[in-house]
Symmetry: C2
Subunit: 286 residues, 2 copies
């Protein structure tokens, strides 16, 4: 398996990059892995794990060539290093949670045959390589784009680390979809946390004592790292703003129906949400 | 323990009422429990459990008297049966998720020495006695009001079923607090589900395939029973509307900051939410 991918370079030894290194090492013990990680703490942690033959502190140190370069850094950093990666590897795959800026950059560099935009639907609230896990991708969806068909050898590698490939039409569709199920959901969770904390500080210091499992589940994304999420949300700002408008439309409907004590309308909203969730749960892939 | 509470009548054999019957039976095997449950299916299920000495189909059938009557029905039903319960029991306790309508009714019936407004912070998405569980209240907060002090014998009963008593100032504070941590959180979860489903139907049928754990956790309350929640939300409408306005203020801040690509402001919002959640987690009771 993956005979053509003997030499892999990973740019970024954070949670995803380090997890991918561990997963590839476990699935393909003969593959030679090398990493670029500028943060010396992260690099030390990566060295401890013993899966990276060499760890560079910056791209300029790299002189070798590879079968695959994996861009596992914030999206703006990945865009900036796309040209470097393409000059050092047969294939370049990114694992960013947005696709349009990457595809645009790859397009302007004429990398259509070399570049594989992708997005593993896996993560953790713990930042950096400390949370890295060889099983992070097991049974998780790994998104590819239909108009940037991945070579079979890369699909096999993704399957080898346990992920399930799934194809979305193009970068625009991908970014709109994750604005909905991921980025918009993130802001929803954080806004609920902020609204609750607003009431705690203003009037009800005992609120945490009264909170139950529903509160803790719905606000859990608030513990995520701020810097990563700020970049991600800004890179997908137009789609996320549109999602927030849809969300606010439904919140306004609830607000209006409650103001009017309009029971029929409230039951309709509650029941529509219940049926929608049932339909989503019945989806064969979920 | 609970020597004064030998005879207990439970009005309502739904999830909470049946769980309480099971929990009291386990904690105090000598207590005599009787129930009122108009729904024949629920009554049959309750009979199977074997913890209720007698099951009445309506209050008019009850001629005996009790040490405690527990109102475990929707709040409007509990209000309507408060007078009946007070005539048949030394103490009357309700377990509704809102307190103002109950306290108002008890006040006008001059039940200050008899009535114990309370609210166990426990529940499940499964409706009716099918989901009932003798351990439902174990380690859960059981709210009482400071201005309706419960008699020691009732506090001991609540502790005997495993719950932790916690005191909130009054009905107004209670209802505002649950509007925040429970009722408002509920609408947040459902609105996110509705917004996601809107996008699925309008443009992206593949959305469920792209959804990850964050989506499923944040929207999980959408599977709750609509009828119960419609009553609860309407009974607490003013507070919930106020909470939704606070929530929409934060969503608008995110929306505006994203529209302007205002990174500093976005980082501030994300970081404030992260610190708030840490503070809540550090609360000794959570």
């Amino acid at each position: 398996m993956n005979e053509e991918l003997r030499r892999v370079l990973i740019l970024g030894g954070g949670l995803l990059g380090t997890s991918f290194a561990l997963a590839v090492h476990r699935a393909c013990p003969d593959a030679v892995l090398e990493c670029i990680e500028p943060n010396s703490e992260h690099a030390a942690r990566l060295a401890q794990l013993g899966v990276s033959k060499h760890i560079y502190s910056r791209p300029a140190e790299v002189t070798a060539t590879y079968d695959l370069a994996v861009l596992a850094a914030p999206s703006s950093v990945c865009v900036a290093h796309l040209d470097f990666a393409a000059r050092h590897a047969t294939f370049v795959m990114d694992v960013c949670s947005i696709k349009q800026p990457l595809c645009d950059a790859a397009e302007s560099l004429h990398l259509h045959k070399q570049f594989v935009p992708s997005h593993p639907m896996a993560g953790k609230a713990i930042e950096g390589p400390v949370g890295a896990d060889a099983s992070l991708f097991v049974d998780k969806t790994w998104l590819f784009l239909e108009d940037w068909t991945p070579p079979a050898v890369i699909v096999r590698l993704v399957e080898a680390v346990g992920a399930k490939p799934f194809y979305v039409a193009d970068a625009a569709a991908h970014d709109a979809m994750v604005a909905c199920v991921s980025h918009g959901i993130h802001i929803t969770s954080l806004s609920a946390m902020l609204a609750n904390d607003d009431w705690r500080r203003a009037k009800y210091p005992g609120l945490p004592d009264v909170s139950g499992p529903a509160f803790w589940d719905i606000t859990r994304l608030a513990s995520s790292p701020a810097a990563f999420w700020a970049d991600t949300l800004i890179a997908n700002a137009d789609n996320v703003v549109q999602y927030l408008q849809t969300l606010q439309m439904y919140l306004s409907r609830f607000e209006q129906a409650l103001s009017l004590r309009d029971k029929e309308n409230i039951v309709t909203l509650l029941e529509t949400a219940r049926l929608a969730r049932n339909e989503w749960s019945d989806n064969p892939h979920s």
